[in-house]
């Protein structure tokens, strides 16, 4: 998901735009095929890699049936490999949080330096935090989640109802034809419940959440300038994670994981996942696709994916679009969509 982050890492990358994001690793560790993750250790941070994130999105519903979406993201971006004490730490942390409804979208952003305790991630007992934003619990399967912004706060509990899912080859997820890759696993089976505090009052909500964990040092090829990322949960119990990386030349690199109702995951062949924009919406001064056709012929999936709130623009330092979606067509369901690189 948020490959985007790397950008955020951004600071130097921001100057260059989405293209040309560091494709060489400059002393950082590089993901190798067939990793052997150990948990809970790998829930923690990997400071030898350039970028890493803990990325949670949730589809929620209020008692009156109003749908909401929620995002909680912690990014780590290293200026240099490894960790040093105090302000000398080369690790920079930033968080994005959002609450989205059919006609509201609140966003907050935080920054912190590693090394002084303002932000970080501990593997066990698990705790990921920046300022007062927290995702923590005795185990990775039961956690509290909270965040606050100028016009919202939320406080949730997460309960995992299924196993972790490793993407690609045992968690080694290839991102380009040249071989750029990341380590990537998810927990797509969270039940989530809690309260949103909005300017108009509190709203009790419950629903499902999807957590992505990814770390890498050279996630994009030089000619890739953006991506569209989908996490969809179907009424059948099956789930689909798919993304397409858009090349500057118009070519695409797509990739997807099919997660069966029992939690077993299959990496689909390259090209098996097709996403086509059907309709764009003017958002923050640019045209962003907010209705898509997603097709996975192998799994008889041919659905329409539409934004719950087309204006779900993340107006943070390096802005992007991220929001809840509704799925209709061959399958019914809901999910989250992230799009970057639309200038």
């Amino acid at each position: 998901m948020a490959l985007l982050l790397i950008l955020l890492l951004p600071i130097p990358a921001a100057a260059q735009g989405f293209a040309g994001m560091g494709s060489d690793a400059e002393g950082f560790a590089v993901p190798r095929p067939d990793p052997d993750f150990t948990f809970p250790g790998d829930h923690g941070s990997h400071p030898d890699y350039r970028i890493e994130w803990w990325y949670l999105t949730a589809n929620l519903e209020a008692p009156d049936g109003t749908p909401y979406g929620l995002q909680w993201t912690l990014f780590r971006s290293a200026l240099a490999p490894g960790e040093r004490p105090g302000w000398q730490s080369p690790q920079i942390w930033f968080g994005h949080a959002a609450v989205t409804g059919p006609d509201l979208h609140h966003v907050a952003e935080r920054f912190a330096r590693g090394g002084i305790g303002q932000a970080g991630v501990r593997a066990a007992p698990f705790s990921a935090w920046i300022d007062d934003w927290r995702m923590e619990g005795e185990t990775f399967d039961r956690m509290r989640l909270s965040a606050s912004g100028p016009d919202f706060t939320y406080d949730m509990t997460l309960t995992a109802n299924g196993p972790l899912v490793l993407h690609g080859q045992g968690g080694h997820s290839v991102k380009s034809a040249q071989g750029q890759a990341s380590y990537y696993y998810s927990q797509p089976h969270f039940a989530i419940e809690g309260r949103l505090a909005l300017p108009d009052g509190e709203v009790p909500v419950k629903g499902t959440a999807w957590l992505d964990r990814e770390w890498s040092s050279q996630p994009l090829a030089a000619d890739q300038d953006g991506w569209d990322w989908f996490s969809l949960s179907f009424a059948t119990g099956a789930k689909l994670m798919g993304f397409r990386l858009r090349g500057a030349a118009g070519d695409q690199f797509t990739y997807a994981t099919w997660i069966a109702p029992d939690g077993s995951a299959v990496a689909l062949d390259r090209g098996a996942f097709q996403a086509t924009p059907l309709e764009t919406t003017p958002v923050a001064g640019r045209e962003v696709p907010t209705r898509w056709r997603v097709v996975v012929p192998d799994k008889d999936v041919d659905v329409m994916v539409a934004a719950l709130n087309p204006q779900a623009w993340m107006a943070v330092s390096l802005p992007y679009w991220e929001g809840p979606v509704r799925v209709s067509g061959s399958h019914q369901g809901r999910g989250y969509l992230e799009m970057t690189g639309y200038e």
Partner: protein
């Protein structure tokens, strides 16, 4: 036709170059003084702005420690983790190659926008700021700093003078204060649902933006004083311009009549004349701006030193010619011209086409005009009275000044006329009677320049009274507050203990300087603990007190407050003040505390230690009969760095040096205003000289020699100057009173006692007389050399 008309209009200036010069010089000088003062002001302000941007002082609320000057880094993290968006700042000074540099460390990740160095916002790679240590330094300190630190130093004009900005980690290393912060900036937009501040960080005090150590407000009042000066000078200049324009229009009436008789439409004529004036204003304005730049460049170093000495505000001593000054300088020149020329143009526009073009001398002679003038003067004095009684704030204070000055200027000819009348009645003899009568007759023509002289002298009297009173008061204050012979600063508490033990047997008294920043009666203030002894009781003078003051303070039964706190919180003697933890003490004395922006209160040492047990003094005043030997012993035997010991004489000398600088600024402006007024007089006399030939010719024909006539001219100028001086003195004193008792109270929060300086006024009188004599000398000399044929011509072709 337009061209012919313009040619005709310009021919006037061609034939009267002196008038043209008067106009341009008057307007140019006025603009110069105005824009010079503005330049000094805006340069100083932009320096503060850079400082404020560096320190976030002006725009953001901040958290500062209640006591001491350190916030543990853990407090910052705790606040962040509780949801408070705050940004850390560490500041301190280090010595780099003999130069003191203020190091300010910030965290670019949490600092609100606009805090960082400009270079960082204009494309320098911020990641480099974090990953490779770099200091952005004011260009003046960049070089010395580069040699003293291992890190890269980048000169940046946006950084405050004497300051270098860097990452907080680098600052902690350079200042050797790991894990320490100085203060926290509160980011304006905070998240919902935070716990209250005092639950997370009870040791921190929230200081509102623009509050507390409000350098800006203080220095504003200094600039206001300067601005008042500039405006006054400009008014003086406008008097000159008004005179020159009036004269030029008066003399061109014949030309106007002829042009109109030849078919020139009135409308176009008026437009052309207005255009001509504006063009002249542009030229004069441009000259004025350049002159003003020169004035500012000459004054700025002194102003910078004054501000730094007085308020600790740092101002760069360098000057840049900014486009805004060009605009404001030209604008004020135009505005002045319009002000001065509107009346003349209006009269031309209303003049009947075949109206007599006779030299009706100065229109101001009319009885009606004098009545208007009298009514206006009375109205202005009334307004001044009302403002003095009911005005509140700086603006009414300056309004009062303006009413007083304008009213006095308008009243001047009305007062001089009866005086001259008295003189005339009391003299016998043809020549002296003629002298008085002729002087009266000249009064209308000279009145504008005399008003200018009056204003200039009054401003001189007023401002020098204020500055001198300030100096006297401050000297007394220094004696009171710097009673100890030596002041010693220990590096830490341990050294402080050692120091006290060391000096115990060597000095008459050790006076620890205990203080804590707090709020008293709802006002941010410093609370001091005093070890009461003869030092205090002998040296402190109270503005108001209930005796005996010190025994009660020593016993912890009374408190002393400074004037600032008393005024701000509306406290009087006998009222009770909560000094902390619910301890309420009656106020036993109010003490003058000049030049200090902050409220202060003093309680006994024992009570202070009980209320604030965590505060330990690290600064001490030492009473000694042999300060030199003690100083040497402290350095040699205790190993104190010489910089940690300050002797009273040096502080006093430094403070007085600051005042000398203030004096330089004031003196320079005084000389300039007086010069402008003298110039106005010269020009009036010169223009009058030509017109007066017809009046002097009969006197010459009756037997007065040209020499005698010249001498009488000189005498007349001196007489008028002396009379004007006589009126300027009370006006100046009134001006001083307004500055000290109204403007100063509004701007600084304390009232200055007013002292009189008769010898200064005498010197000023002599200067004014000399200026008038100088101004009259040339016209008088020219008169004494007028060819008899010119005088005879008066009779041959009498108009």
């Amino acid at each position: 036709m337009t061209r012919a008309c313009l040619q005709a209009l310009f021919s006037h200036w061609w034939r009267n170059p002196l008038q043209l010069f008067t106009l341009l010089a008057g307007l140019g000088l006025a603009t110069a003084l105005w824009s010079g003062v503005q330049a000094v002001n805006s340069e100083a302000r932009s320096s503060y702005d850079a400082a404020a941007a560096t320190l976030g002082e002006a725009r953001f609320d901040q958290l500062v420690p209640r006591a001491g000057d350190t916030i543990p880094q853990q407090t910052f993290v705790a606040l962040r983790r509780a949801g408070w968006k705050v940004a850390p700042v560490l500041s301190g000074t280090m010595t780099a190659n003999g130069i003191r540099v203020r190091i300010v460390g910030i965290d670019p990740l949490t600092a609100p926008g606009g805090i960082g160095p400009q270079a960082l916002e204009t494309g320098t790679d911020p990641a480099a700021f974090l990953s490779q240590p770099v200091l952005f330094a004011n260009p003046e300190v960049a070089d010395p700093l580069a040699g003293a630190v291992p890190d890269r130093v980048v000169p940046d004009k946006g950084v405050a003078p004497g300051t270098a900005l860097t990452d907080i980690g680098v600052a902690q290393r350079l200042l050797e204060r790991p894990g320490e912060l100085s203060r926290l900036i509160i980011v304006p937009r905070q998240p919902m649902g935070r716990p209250p501040l005092d639950r997370i960080a009870p040791d921190l005090l929230r200081r509102p933006a623009q509050g507390g150590s409000d350098v800006r407000r203080l220095t504003d009042s200094f600039h206001l004083n300067l601005s008042a000066f500039g405006l006054l000078s400009f008014a003086v200049g406008i008097f000159i311009v008004h005179g020159a324009i009036g004269l030029a229009f008066e003399q061109r009436r014949a030309m106007v009549r002829t042009l109109r008789a030849l078919g020139m439409p009135l409308r176009r004529l008026v437009i052309l004349m207005a255009a001509e004036l504006l063009m002249l204003a542009l030229v004069a304005g441009a000259i004025g701006v350049l002159l003003g730049y020169a004035v500012a460049a000459a004054l700025l170093p002194d102003v910078a030193a004054t501000l730094e000495g007085l308020y600790g505000a740092q101002v760069s001593g360098a000057l840049q010619l900014r486009p805004a000054w060009w605009l404001s300088g030209l604008g004020i020149a135009m505005a002045g011209t319009v002000l001065a020329g509107a009346g003349a143009l209006w009269r031309i526009a209303r003049m009947p086409i075949l109206h007599s073009a006779g030299a009706r001398a100065w229109s101001m002679t009319s009885r009606r005009w004098r009545r208007v003038q009298a009514v206006a003067a009375v109205a202005l004095f009334l307004a001044a009275g009302i403002l003095a009684r009911h005005g509140d704030g700086l603006v009414p204070g300056f309004g009062l000044l303006a009413c007083l000055l304008l009213g006095a200027a308008l009243a001047l000819p009305l007062l001089l006329d009866p005086l001259l009348d008295v003189g005339m009645r009391r003299t016998r003899g043809v020549v002296s009677e003629w002298f008085w009568a002729d002087t009266r007759q000249q009064l209308p023509g000279l009145s504008l320049s005399l008003m200018a002289l009056l204003l200039a002298m009054a401003a001189n009297v007023g401002v020098s009274t204020m500055v001198s009173s300030f100096r006297l008061t401050f000297e007394g204050f220094l004696d009171q507050r710097l009673a100890s012979e030596l002041y010693v600063t220990a590096e830490d508490k341990a050294q402080a203990e050692e120091l006290q033990a060391f000096v115990a047997s060597r000095v008459r008294a050790v006076l620890p300087l205990l203080s804590v920043e707090t709020r008293l009666a709802g006002v941010a203030a410093d609370l001091y603990g005093a070890r009461v002894g003869p030092t205090y009781s002998e040296n402190w003078k109270f503005l108001d007190s209930r005796k005996p003051v010190w025994p009660h303070v020593a016993a912890g039964e009374a408190v002393i407050v400074n004037e600032q706190l008393a005024r701000r919180a509306g406290l009087t003697i006998g009222e009770h003040l909560d000094v902390g933890q619910g301890v309420r003490l009656p106020i036993a004395g109010i003490v003058g505390d000049y030049g200090n922006p902050v409220g202060q209160a003093v309680i006994g040492e024992a009570l202070f230690r009980k209320l604030f047990p965590e505060i330990r003094a690290t600064r001490f005043g030492l009473r000694s009969n042999d300060p030199e030997a003690l100083r040497a012993a402290l350095i040699r035997e205790l190993g104190l760095p010489p910089g940690a010991i300050v002797d009273q004489a040096r502080i006093k000398a430094f403070s007085m040096r600051v005042f000398e600088r203030t004096f330089t600024v004031t003196a320079a402006l005084n000389v300039l205003t007086l010069a402008v007024a003298g110039f106005a007089m010269l020009m009036s006399l010169l223009t009058l000289a030509g017109m007066r030939v017809p009046q002097l010719a009969p006197a010459w024909a009756l037997g007065l020699t040209r020499r005698t006539l010249g001498r009488l001219e000189l005498l007349r100028a001196m007489l008028l100057a002396a009379l004007t001086m006589a009126m300027a003195l009370p006006l100046g004193l009134a001006l001083a009173w307004v500055l000290l008792a109204i403007v100063n109270v509004e701007a600084f929060g304390w009232r200055l006692p007013m002292y009189l300086f008769p010898s200064d006024y005498a010197v000023l009188g002599v200067c004014a007389l000399a200026a008038a004599t100088l101004a009259a000398a040339w016209p008088a000399w020219r008169l004494s050399r007028t060819p008899p044929s010119d005088l005879l011509k008066v009779f041959s072709n009498e108009r």
